[in-house]
Symmetry: C2
Subunit: 175 residues, 2 copies
């Protein structure tokens, strides 16, 4: 089973190296990882997507908690959560293919960021399934470049403990 672990760390040199060394040294696989600043300049947030049964994940979180400069470790997948990833895709789009790329972008609510005489660059966001689906749709046209952020996740339950309402949120008004 895939787990998304968020690790709040002190913003110090060597933390990333220690965390990634812990994974490789123990043979734990990392599917994706991102590390970026938080709103507090002294801390960074790492999001690690990894595979493993409950025993392995427990072992990983215990080992992470033992490292210096680690403030907090949370397995976000333990509760309800929202996960998202962003990809940038440069896809071949000559004259006769342009309409098709537009249709695919529209279906996946993706954005066309840039255009050349032979390609479009598209930004898409979504969970793993949606990203896989847009890649499958664009692949026959010819994907020239592909960059992805790795997944990040956020708990659905709010801090005060009450579950999030499962209401349908209306889409913002488009101008």
């Amino acid at each position: 089973m895939q787990h998304v672990i968020s690790v709040l760390v002190e913003n110090k040199s060597g933390v990333l190296s220690r965390v990634s060394g812990l994974f490789s040294g123990r043979g734990f696989n990392i599917d994706s990882l991102s590390v970026a600043p938080t709103l507090d300049p002294s801390a960074s947030m790492m999001t690690i997507v990894t595979q493993g049964d409950d025993r392995i994940i427990e072992q990983i979180t215990k080992q992470l908690n033992k490292l210096v400069d680690i403030i907090k470790v949370v397995d976000i997948t333990e509760n309800e959560y929202i996960e998202r990833e962003m990809v940038l895709i440069k896809v071949s789009a000559r004259q006769e293919e342009r309409a098709e790329v537009f249709r695919i972008a529209d279906i996946f609510r993706a954005r066309i960021l840039d255009s050349s005489s032979t390609s479009y660059t598209i930004e898409a966001t979504g969970d793993a399934k949606k990203i896989g689906a847009i890649v499958d749709q664009l692949r026959p046209l010819g994907i020239k470049e592909f960059m992805r952020t790795g997944r990040i996740a956020i708990a659905r339950k709010s801090e005060s403990g009450e579950p999030a309402e499962k209401v349908k949120v209306p889409r913002p008004h488009r101008r």
Copy 2:
């Protein structure tokens, strides 16, 4: 000056640890880093955002090229490029604040992904400046959680060598 370096690596255990160890061991600072699978299952792409003058960046790319399991190192910021980051923000949104959150999301073309009785969860994408601006707008309402992917970038110039057209791309039709 900030540089975005993309590093294509063999998908082997320990590569991330060696790359991050190279940075910390030499005192090079990493602002953000993401590593994720590519379309080729044997390779992963790392995107590293770092600071430094040209001499330091040259040193970094040389050192990276010497590491085993590194396939290709490109300083994307050397040429024209598009950079993007995604953030997930859970912001306080009680009844009287909801309209204001909608207005801010609309201005920044952000998406509201989830709602609870006291909060909205928003997905926003953009360059560093835009992300900074939406955070500044939402901060007075109360940001409860904040996750970001770190930046990824893609060259504007297409592979065949011709520059991308600087045309305005029409927005896809909204239904």
